[in-house]
């Protein structure tokens, strides 16, 4: 594998890191009880839908294994497939651009739009463009970007950030959405109710004008097929279809890991993705295009932004199998309590906790691998069988290593871990440690004295009582028992 250990593979920049460590951001998010209610309602509904449509496929586990194997082949031969894609897109009249990181991708996209003279672009399927912060880059040169996916429109009008990969406005309920529309849509009916069809109709009227006037569209991609040069987008609303077909210029920004080698691979993913993502047997709209159609210009921007660097880690690279279905977010007990913003990256939840630190380098997202109880729910639902819990443990190791390299002085945690490790690696020392523990029983039982114990104890006792410490360890009891026998 030629990519292994590529020196200086570019690090991911853009919206992949937060301003504060996860525990601090999560503490803030937990205070928002409205957010927790919205998240609980939404994730509970989607979890049940997913479980029902997955259960009806007898070959789900085989499909999942096939999905994982297809993606692993892509990752192992990425260089070959990505060149094949380029050749086929070019052959069909498209123009392929290569972007090492977010800044390069933004520069390419901005220049392409400027060349058309358009002052406004319509956008769809834009998580990759959220990753690179394209809307801000366009705005900086006076170009307005209109999100056309309903949820992304809500996020954009709310001057907000996506909090979920698939349902970016999952943190908003319908009353909040009505308020955003009333405030931000110029021609909206002032009597707008919070009835979902009424909200959808308001968005439809707002967007229809944009579709008809836009000359440039910017999209993401769910899949790109190397052997044909075909790109594919799956969606629910049909707004993507309008973006892809109406404007004269189409610019697609795609992470290089979205590749599939063969046309026939798509069959596996068109089953895995909708069932895992929206809990539907099939998504309402699947759009595919190969190169440029007559009268249209097509540009494909291939984005690295930390993906090659991720590929270099044999224990972490499977994170690039991800097809952005969000099933792991919907089952994650941590995500359900805090929502997506606490992760600080456009990729939140369990997959974000393994992907973001790899895209940026562990130093920028060192707290994310610890944002999990390792409960395993994410692995269970992942349609491409990414072993997120094991990957989190692996990345925790890298985070600890990084911290040790940064500081000559060991952290408090590493002192505790080393001391415990030393005590536990010898039965004799462990026995002494257990005796000391028994001696601490009066302190532990005393709520006033407990307050003077080190910081970790107070983090425990904030919401829970300490267990009572027994007079004797089990091994001491066992020793008495066996010695008492003749």
């Amino acid at each position: 594998m030629t990519f292994l250990g590529i020196p200086g593979a570019p690090r991911g920049v853009g919206h992949l890191r937060g301003d504060e460590p996860f525990p601090d951001a999560a503490r803030e998010a937990l205070k928002n009880t409205q957010l927790r209610d919205n998240l609980r309602n939404a994730t509970t509904t989607i979890r049940a839908k997913r479980a029902a449509v997955v259960a009806e496929l007898p070959d789900w586990m085989e499909l999942r294994a096939a999905g994982a194997a297809i993606k692993d082949d892509v990752l192992a031969n990425l260089e070959r497939y990505v060149l094949e894609l380029e050749a086929n897109v070019t052959r069909r009249g498209g123009v392929v651009h290569w972007a090492r990181d977010a800044n390069e991708a933004n520069a390419i996209a901005v220049n392409l739009v400027l060349e058309t003279g358009a002052r406004e672009v319509v956008k769809v399927k834009s998580i990759a463009t959220q990753e690179i912060g394209l809307n801000d880059a366009l705005e900086a040169v006076g170009i307005g970007a209109i999100e056309t996916d309903l949820a992304e429109l809500i996020v954009q009008l709310g001057h907000d950030w996506p909090s979920h990969i698939l349902a970016p406005a999952i943190h908003r309920n319908r009353s909040e959405i009505r308020d955003i529309f009333l405030r931000e849509m110029p021609d909206v009916d002032p009597e707008l109710t919070n009835d979902p069809p009424a909200l959808a109709e308001a968005a439809r009227r707002h967007l229809r004008k944009k579709f008809l006037s836009a000359t440039v569209a910017i999209s993401g991609a769910n899949f790109a097929i190397a052997e044909t040069g075909t790109l594919a987008i799956v969606e629910s609303e049909g707004n993507g279809r309008m973006c892809l077909t109406l404007p004269r210029t189409l610019i697609t920004v795609m992470g290089i890991e979205k590749l599939l080698a063969r046309w026939r691979d798509l069959e596996v993913f068109l089953q895995l993705l909708p069932r895992s993502a929206t809990g539907e047997r099939m998504n309402p709209y699947t759009s595919m295009w190969t190169g440029a159609v007559e009268g249209q210009e097509f540009h494909l921007i291939l984005l690295d932004n930390g993906r090659t660097a991720t590929l270099a880690d044999p224990h972490g690279r499977a994170a690039l199998r991800c097809i952005r279905c969000s099933a792991c977010l919907n089952v994650c007990p941590v995500y359900e309590r805090v929502g997506g913003h606490a992760y600080g990256s456009v990729y939140p939840g369990p997959i974000g906790a393994v992907l973001s630190p790899q895209l940026t380098g562990i130093d920028d997202n060192a707290s994310l691998p610890f944002a999990s109880t390792l409960c395993g729910a994410c692995l269970e639902v992942c349609p491409v069988a990414i072993d997120i819990p094991s990957m989190l443990v692996h990345l925790r190791g890298r985070a600890v290593e990084y911290r040790q390299q940064q500081s000559r002085l060991p952290s408090g945690e590493s002192v505790v871990m080393s001391s415990l490790g030393a005590a536990m690696s010898s039965p004799r020392r462990w026995n002494v440690a257990l005796r000391l523990l028994s001696l601490s029983r009066r302190v532990v039982a005393n709520r006033t004295l407990v307050k003077f114990l080190p910081g970790d104890v107070s983090r425990w006792t904030k919401v829970r009582d300490l267990p009572s410490i027994p007079r004797e360890s089990f091994r001491a009891r066992w020793r008495h028992q066996t010695q008492a026998k003749p």
């Binding site: 109880t373 395993g376 410490i469 089990f474 091994r475 009891r477």
Partner: protein, 242 residues
């Protein structure tokens, strides 16, 4: 069949009654059980906290401790999960082929209590008597790492006098997660709050599980809010008799 009790560091130091219950229960079922005192801790805490290299001597000690035992049984799904799923990865990462073979052999004969009873001994009715209202919390490692939660339920259902009540959102993690409880204590507390509420709503007098660690966390939450329900390890329920 010579059975070694893998007591786990937490039970050894904090919940010795669970260890007593394990011995009592296994002896009642005519199992030749012994406790090798060479054992200390399986190393899971070090592994899951990112200190895999510190776990290495603990893994080697675990292998040595249970050398010569046909079967190893533990009152913890998560510690068994570590032996079964993590040891091999650590040994391979070290490139120590001999250790790889040793940990694979250990993993193959290490069992969580309920799978040992149901799958190895072939018993579901262990002759227990526990006339109380009990809610069972399937711990994440019972449910998703070892897939043994169904065995625990079958064992509990066969206990005489027990009133086994359903726990709503039972499969949701309690929020313990080892050092997660400290590093992300706020999120952990929020998850615990929801679990405690479900236990209270169930009307159970006891909540039981296969892991003392999760029970320590849930129990600490129950007493903190003044709930009357108490935690009890699966082994203690199964060891109870008339």
């Amino acid at each position: 069949m010579r059975v070694g009790l893998f007591i786990t560091c937490l039970v050894d130091g904090v919940f010795p009654d669970v260890g007593d219950a394990m011995v009592q229960l296994l002896r009642r079922l005519d199992v030749d059980v012994d406790v090798p005192l060479q054992q200390t801790c399986c190393g899971q805490m070090h592994i899951n906290s990112g200190y895999g290299s510190l776990a290495l001597p603990l893994i080697k000690n675990q292998v040595r401790s249970f050398d010569g035992y046909d079967v190893v049984v533990a009152p913890s799904a998560s510690c068994v999960g570590s032996v079964r799923h993590q040891y091999e990865q650590i040994a391979r990462a070290r490139g120590d082929e001999r250790l790889v073979d040793e940990v694979l052999a250990l993993a193959k004969r290490t069992y969580e209590l309920s799978e040992f009873l149901v799958d190895v001994l072939g018993v579901t009715d262990v002759g227990a008597y526990f006339p109380h209202r009990v809610a069972y919390h399937p711990t994440c490692h019972s449910l998703r790492a070892l897939h043994t939660a169904d065995r625990s339920v079958r064992l509990l259902a066969a206990v005489e006098g027990i009133d086994l009540v359903a726990l709503s959102l039972a499969e949701s993690c309690c929020g313990f997660g080892g050092t997660f409880a400290l590093k992300n204590s706020d999120v952990s507390g929020a998850m615990l709050g929801d679990k405690v509420e479900c236990v209270v709503q169930s009307g159970a007098g006891f909540v039981t599980a296969a892991d003392s660690s999760c029970l320590m966390h849930i129990g600490g939450g129950l007493t903190r809010v003044g709930a009357s329900a108490r935690t009890i390890h699966l082994a203690e329920v199964l060891a109870s008799t008339r």
